[in-house]
Amino acid sequence: MTQSKPSPSESNAASPGVIPPVALSGVSKRFGATQALADVSLALLPGEVHGLVGENGAGKSTIVKVLAGIHQPDSGAVLLDGKPVLLHGPAQARSLGIAVVHQEPRLFPDLTVAENVFMGHTPKGSLGSVNWREMVRSSDRIFESLSVQIDPTAVVRGLSMADQQLIEIAKALSVEARVLVLDEPTASLSAHEVERLFAIVRQTRDRGVAVLFVSHRLEEVFQLCERATVLRDGRHVITAPTTELTAPDLVRHMVGRAVTMFPRSHAQIGDMLLEVRGLTRLGAFRDISFSVHAGEIVGLAGLVGAGRTEVARVLFGLDRADSGEVLFAGKRVSFKTPSEALGAGIAYVPEDRHLDGLVSSFSIAENVTLPILPRLFPRLFTRKNTERDLAADYVGQLRIRSTGVDELVEALSGGNQQKVVIAKWLATKPKVLILDEPTRGVDIGAKAEVHRIISDLAAAGLGIVLISSELPEVLAMSDRILVLHEGRIETEIPRAEATEERVMFAATGQNAEEIVSGA
């Protein structure tokens, strides 16, 4: 290794003599304006399950992708048995013994289980043809060693998420992996399936494999891992044996940063615009109740998968609730389509860029007016000037940097495109605006501007629901913060009492008592 001073993680290694099969040494990685990883070092030891924790955006996924060979570090290196290697791609990483099970199973639904398990290294027969029998037999063997029953000749389509994940693990084990990386494996598993997974992980560990377990669920980290590492803002914070750490410790390491203030003009809180009572959608969220008033910004915080986007989708008419009610301006509503929601006055700026529907061959003006075309031009024929004036209005209000409203949106920067998206939904003149991760992937400068815009909108009397995984953003902008955990509202925190730790505790499902007693 070529480092001059031992990094914290290496000095925490179990025994100085053991060379870790896989390690990251001083790895940095930047994407555009975001520094995803900064000088991170991490060593994985054989026969150990190593937990990796951190909030959204801390760099966990990037580490997984660097190990998988999907991204190459800008500086620093991946070390195999102490020697730096350049991983060109996932196939090479796999051939070197690094097996990665990603968050979403990436299987081929129309192929059989056995074909998926051996994809990329299919056992060949004498003439180079596929040896089906060997493939099925080897698959059987792997599943047996995992003590699970999966039919290798079954087609993957239709299998449960849990089974698909097991197939991914089998895929990993089919190449005699030395390192197994699991990225949020328990997100869609039931308690029983989690137990099964843990048994398999322990088995694998006992066979001498080094396991990296990335998870949001702190209690699982304590259950399964011998050591844990905390990342924050792309940097390594601490690595320690789990026996020496407590959950509150982890949370504190995950968040501890100075909260920067964003511009927030305080608005008059007006009438109640939206009231949600006992809203439930099976499999997504349960018993959600909250209200939004004019001039108010309600923050929805929580971990990925907590159900926030799902709630927004129901409010906007993209999905249907199974029970509960939504009252808009005092009247009971049930939107079957987003157009109904838009007509009533609720707009949703989606996190899913695909739903943005920015037509790249259209100009700013054409994109902004798209949702309201029939409203704007009831007599079928469009008028450029009307469009241009309307768009120019928003360009000025939102300070969209462009050469003019006729500029094609594909020529704009990411931040400005995001502003066009907001302008587009604002053009529908909503009374309630739901924003889902509005500043994700937007650079710092544009971020502050988007915050200013949101603040101004509240001041103008809109009711805003702000879904965000960025704690500083949620804390600075919200009048009240609702923290969701596993589909339920864990707690509601007024602005004055909100701290990052309190939000994070609730987001990870920590009991309130622990906060009081746990230092």
């Binding site: 994407f31 555009g32 304006a33 975001t34 993209l318 389509t337 987003p338 157009s339 838009l342 695909h354 739903l355 943005d356 529907g357 037509v359 790249s360 061959s361 259209f362 054409e366 798209l370 949702p371 075309l373 029939p374 031009f377 079928l380 024929f381 469009t382 094609l408 594909e410 020529a411 704009l412 920067s413 990411g414 931040g415 495109q417 992937g441 937007v442 650079d443």
Partner: protein, 334 residues
């Protein structure tokens, strides 16, 4: 400014067109003769009208492979009706255009209601409509002599010709004027109406379009119906141009029409392009087709060179798209 080029692709194409025409007129003295030009542009006009319809379909991220069968069937039916019954010519033409509309609507129904992917659906109707053509023909053909006197004349006639001193301009072929009218009408509707805008939205991202309340299925149905109607018009003109019609008339034309649309800058992925571009593409390909023999390209090479030209045009387009995607990705923060 890669994206600027895409916008002014039509201008670029027109410039290339003029360059090619200039080159041809120098190398092949036969090119600039009035007769030749009228013939070439009149035929290109037929393709152009069909291409405008096809462009509408491709804009919505679909494709219509059956246009050649619609054109052939309409041409033959109109000619047969004129030969065997005493229908007044305009009525026969109206019948033909109506038939095209119905065939297009049928395509639309299969795609939007039965949810069959358009490439599969129109592959089927390509054969079905051609089959109808063979059925109606029943082994016979229609010759020019069977049709009313002077039926084919409009294909050669021009308007706005003048002779001033030594300078003469033989005028613009009627067919070309027709094509210009069609392009203008459809082009303006696309640009200046709400529905036109929605064509682009549906082609660009049908899911997001549905979110804002655009009736995607209706839009696609409209596209196919208009495509059929325009193919009907093209079919009527085909009959006038050729005079002699067989059950297999216009076979293989679909590829020419689609090539014209794509060369004209309409993205096969939907959501971008103009009908002017499609028309210019038709004219461009018509010119190339006409010029190659004039430039003494050997018979055996004709199809090859023609295909190569199409490939080059489309590859250049793809290259520009890739460059603009990269520029987009660089400017977007991940």
């Amino acid at each position: 400014m890669i994206w600027r080029i895409a916008r002014s692709r039509e201008v670029t194409l027109a410039a290339v067109l003029i360059a090619v025409a200039a080159f041809a007129s120098v190398r092949a003295p036969n090119f600039l003769t009035a007769d030749n030009l009228v013939l070439v542009t009149a035929f290109a006009a037929i393709i152009a009208i069909a291409a405008v319809g096809e462009a509408l379909v491709i804009l919505t991220k679909n494709i219509d492979l059956s246009v050649e069968s619609t054109i052939g069937l309409v041409a033959f039916v109109v000619a047969t009706v004129l030969k065997q019954h005493d229908m007044p010519v305009p009525a026969a033409w109206a019948l033909g255009i109506g038939l095209g509309l119905v065939l297009g609507m049928a395509n639309g129904v299969i795609v939007t209601i039965f949810k069959v992917p358009s490439i599969v659906a129109t592959l089927g109707t390509l054969s079905v409509y051609r089959g109808l053509d063979f059925y109606v023909a029943n082994g016979h053909e229609v010759n020019l002599v069977d049709l009313p006197a002077g039926y084919s004349d409009p294909a050669h006639q021009t308007l706005l010709g003048f002779q001033f001193g030594g300078i003469g301009f033989s005028g613009i072929p009627i067919f070309v004027i027709l094509a210009i009218l069609v392009v203008a009408a459809v082009g303006m509707a696309l640009r200046y109406t709400v529905i036109g805008r929605q064509f682009y939205a549906v082609g660009s991202n049908a899911e997001a379009a549905a979110v804002i309340g655009v009736r995607s299925r209706l839009t696609v149905f409209l596209a196919f119906s208009l495509c059929g109607m325009l193919a009907g018009i093209a079919g009527v003109l085909w009959g006038i141009y050729f005079g002699t019609l067989y059950a297999s008339s216009a076979s293989g034309l679909s590829l020419q029409v689609i090539a014209a649309v794509v060369v004209g800058g309409v993205s096969i992925a939907g959501g971008s392009g103009t009908v002017i571009g499609a028309a210019i593409g038709a004219l461009f390909l018509g010119l190339i087709n006409n010029e190659l023999p004039l430039l003494k390209v050997p018979q055996e090479w004709l199809t090859l060179v023609y295909g190569a030209v199409i490939l080059v045009a489309i590859s250049t387009d793809a290259l520009i798209q890739v460059r603009s995607q990269r520029a987009k990705a660089r400017s977007r923060v991940r």
